[in-house]
């Protein structure tokens, strides 16, 4: 059973417990340490930071994958800039790759071929860079989903969530601009699509198109401009935002999953120095190593097979990288709506799925923490994570959103699905037109039901323990399964969460019509709040658990006797 907890409220306590510490390390701050302490106060920083506690959970490492792939992107990106020439000047290829000899192409594409075939290791680094970009945004998405489903975006971390949303949107720009730089057939087709997308923006579309492309598509300026965006503008902002993201992380301290000894006012885990440094530092090398191995064994973006961009050529399976796939899918399944007002054309068929949907996603992500807080009326700070089942409506909303995104995503690969699974392209498109609306609703209902079922099972475990698998026959001949009580630690984990009740509608004024200081709660808000918490299974009370246990105790004793 629970032993007296060894709790160290701050690190110095821990140090005094270890008599051998003195013998291991440094006798005093001297040399470089003293030099730096005299100038920047290193000792103060070290005292504050070295023993900072990080809780251990695999899903907390998703964000680290993002950070490390960003570092890999910077390292490999610098290598690539040594040879890449962001120029749209047309030249005739005379390089190593024979299957392109004598063809006209842009300098950008020719230099990409040179990196691939003339620079030793260039091909490998190009592939590592591209895989790192895929991983960067994929891990970022996974990290965001983890934060969403565990409620880590709640107060006081809403601002950090917003910074994260900004990082996600910028990383899409970073990825897409990089995808476009080699000026191969696929990236040129992508730019052609962007040209159409910009053109579809009402009122200013044509002007933006002419400004961005320096005239008509493809123009002579775009690659150089995208290069600036890809290697300076966006990475610069990304770096600044990542700095802000991590600073806030350190300031708030990491969230933790509920468990024995975990409270809203502590953080339990390993100290930064040395355990976390070894694990996190080691994980950097792991991520880098995995990316190198991916670059070595998995071909990505074979630009030499796509050929140089040529506005009269296209390839079957023209797709963007995965993170733009859902926009591509929306564009593919959109009905061909176009309207004409006062001699102008409004291209809804491109504008709504392209520009509109992206705006919708990022707006929804940005406002969600505030909307949820408004609905729940929850103003307290949260450092313990929600178990997703304990917030069924949020979890169901998240899964519904993922399902909707996933449907758009599948639609973006409808031609590949058609050929790989022998389906009709048109049937997939018609199906997806319905599925993007219906599938999220089904996913919402199913997820919510699953969450509630899990809540019920938690309640059962708390009251009656876990099923032992031992069938007993009573003297009267009745059969029953014995239950084993769960540990105190598990019981705590299953029951520590706060049980919310919906906010009640209250008038904003008192009986005399004087406005109340906090304002009232509108009926609509109360309605949403009721909907949000509807069906939640109440966790058992202290009395219920004690009663259930005294009822079960006889059977429990038998089980224990059997075990011994």
């Amino acid at each position: 059973m629970a032993k007296p907890a060894k709790i160290t409220s701050s690190s110095p306590v821990l140090e005094t417990r270890r008599p051998d510490v003195e013998a291991d390390g440094l006798a005093r701050f001297a040399g470089v340490g003293s030099f730096l302490d005299d100038r920047v106060g290193l000792a103060k920083i070290a005292r504050f930071g070295l023993r900072k506690v990080f809780p251990d959970h695999w899903s907390f490492l998703l964000g680290e994958i993002v950070l490390y792939s960003f570092i890999v992107l910077l390292i490999t990106g610098v290598f690539l800039t040594i040879w890449f020439r962001p120029s749209m000047m047309e030249l005739e290829y005379e390089g190593t790759y024979q299957l392109m000899r004598g063809l006209p192409m842009s300098e950008a594409y020719a230099s990409t071929l040179a990196i691939s075939f003339d620079v030793r290791g260039g091909l490998l680094v190009r592939q590592i860079h591209h895989w790192a970009a895929i991983l960067f945004i994929a891990a970022m998405t996974a990290h965001m989903l983890r934060v969403f489903f565990t409620g880590a975006f709640r107060k006081p971390r809403e601002l950090n969530w917003l910074v994260g949303v900004g990082l996600l949107s910028l990383s899409l720009i970073a990825g897409f601009s990089g995808y476009s730089l080699p000026d191969d057939l696929l990236s040129g087709t992508g730019l052609r699509f962007v040209d159409g997308l910009i053109r579809s923006i009402p009122i200013v579309g044509t002007w933006l198109e002419f400004f961005i492309f320096n005239g008509e598509f493809p123009g002579d300026a775009l690659i150089a401009r995208l290069y600036m965006v890809h290697i300076l503008l966006v990475p610069g902002i990304l770096l600044a935002l990542i700095g802000a993201h991590l600073t806030m992380l350190v300031y708030h301290k990491h969230t933790q999953f509920p468990g024995p000894g975990r409270t809203e006012s502590n953080v339990v885990g390993y100290p930064l120095f040395p355990v976390y440094m070894a694990k996190a530092g080691g994980f950097f090398f792991v991520v880098f190593g995995v990316l190198i191995l991916m670059g070595a064994t998995m071909q990505i973006n074979p630009v030499w097979a796509y050929g140089p961009y040529n506005p009269a050529q296209v390839t079957a399976g023209s797709q963007p990288d995965w993170y733009m796939g859902w926009v591509e899918g929306a564009i593919r399944i959109m009905p061909n709506w176009e309207s004409h007002i006062l001699g102008t054309t409004w291209s809804w068929n491109v504008f709504l799925p392209g520009v509109g949907l992206m705006g919708l996603l990022f707006t929804a992500l940005g406002v969600y923490p505030f909307v949820e807080a408004w609905i729940t009326g929850d103003k307290s700070e949260h450092h313990l994570l929600d178990r997703p089942r304990n917030a069924p409506t949020r979890t169901a909303l998240g899964v519904a959103g993922m399902t909707c995104y996933g449907m758009f995503w599948l639609a973006g690969g409808n031609d590949i699905l058609a050929t790989q699974f022998h389906l009709s392209l048109n049937a997939i498109t018609y199906f997806m037109r319905v599925a993007v609306f219906v599938a999220p609703v089904i996913a919402f209902i199913v997820t919510k039901r699953i969450c509630l079922a899990l809540q019920r099972s938690d309640r059962e475990r708390l009251l009656h323990g876990s099923e032992s698998g031992i069938i007993e026959r009573s003297p009267e001949g009745r059969y029953s399964e014995a239950h084993v009580p769960i540990s105190h630690g598990e019981a705590w984990t299953l029951s520590q969460h706060k049980q919310y009740s919906p906010v009640e509608a209250t008038p904003g004024v008192d009986a005399n019509g004087v406005p109340l200081p906090g304002g009232g709660v509108s009926r609509r808000r109360a309605l949403w709040s009721r909907r949000f918490f509807r069906h939640d299974i109440p966790k058992p009370t202290r009395a219920e658990i004690e009663e259930a246990h005294s009822h079960d105790s006889h059977a429990d004793d038998d089980v224990k006797a059997l075990e011994h």
Binding site: S59, L103, L185, V290
Partner: protein, 266 residues
């Protein structure tokens, strides 16, 4: 050979040269064997009669007893011997069952039987003949001609067959088949005859030398070493799929190991 000429001093040159020589020998043999038979026998009335008998057994239920066509299948008057060679030798005809598209399958006819049916269909009306190897594989193309073949491939073919001939989707369940492992003669015949939904690319627009360059480009492209598994050659969709599975999935497994607690003493 072109690929090797510039690096003939490299260490791998000798084994590669040997492999290439074997490949060329094999390819030439495969190319010549059926062609000689066709040219030797073509036009003889005995062959036509034999072809007619075979045709009436295997093809006439859809194409009519004399290839005039029925509601089940198109007329074969004027499609030429090349169309028969392509459709039958790649196993597309006879179809196993009516459908949107005849899939490629195992061919059950001998070369002689195909030649006989081709002779019969060719006798119905003038059409493209089965080509001789020098037509589709002249072997004298320089690297610039092949690079130009690539340009022609990307202009005329890749929209349906994808950038490396991996195939692609057409409306309503139809598809452009993969060109990997397809015999050069069949690529040539398909261009000239326009099987099923494929348009015709006749010599008037793409002369034989250019058709041969396209075929040579595809062969060279498929012989190129690739930096890693090609992941199906499907482009960004499969790349994203593997990025998630191997990248995110694999690293999550490692993360689980990092965050797990090691074996305890009790």
């Amino acid at each position: 050979m072109r690929f090797l000429s510039s690096r003939r001093r490299s260490r791998a040159a000798k084994p590669l040269l040997l492999a290439f020589a074997l490949f060329v020998t094999g390819a030439l043999y495969a190319g010549f064997a059926p062609a000689t038979q066709v040219s030797a026998d073509a036009g003889t009335s005995a062959l036509v009669a034999e072809g007619k008998a075979l045709f009436q057994v295997s093809c006439s239920s859809c194409h009519g007893l004399n290839g005039e066509g029925t509601t089940q299948g198109p007329s074969l008057v004027g499609v030429g011997a090349a169309a028969v060679d392509f459709q039958v030798a790649t196993g597309r005809m006879p179809m196993a069952h009516p459908g949107a598209q005849a899939p490629r399958k195992q061919n059950t006819f001998t070369e002689h039987e195909i030649a006989a049916m081709a002779a019969f269909v060719a006798a119905l009306g003038p059409g493209p003949a089965i080509p001789e190897p020098p037509v589709y594989a002249p072997g004298n193309l320089d690297e610039r001609a092949i690079a130009r073949g690539g340009e022609l491939f990307r202009t005329n073919c890749s929209a349906c067959h994808n950038f490396e001939g991996g195939g692609g989707a057409l409306p309503n369940g139809k598809y452009a088949p993969s060109l990997r492992g397809v015999e050069p003669i069949h690529i040539y015949e398909a261009m000239r005859t326009g099987p099923q939904q494929m348009p015709v690319f006749s010599a008037g627009a793409i002369p034989d030398a250019e058709a041969a360059a396209i075929i040579a480009y595809l062969e060279e492209l498929h012989a190129q070493p690739s930096p890693g598994f090609t992941l199906g050659g499907l482009g960004p969709v499969s790349e994203g799929f593997f990025g998630w599975i191997i990248g995110v999935g694999g690293l999550c497994l490692i993360a689980t190991w990092i965050a797990s607690r090691g074996a305890r003493a009790r």
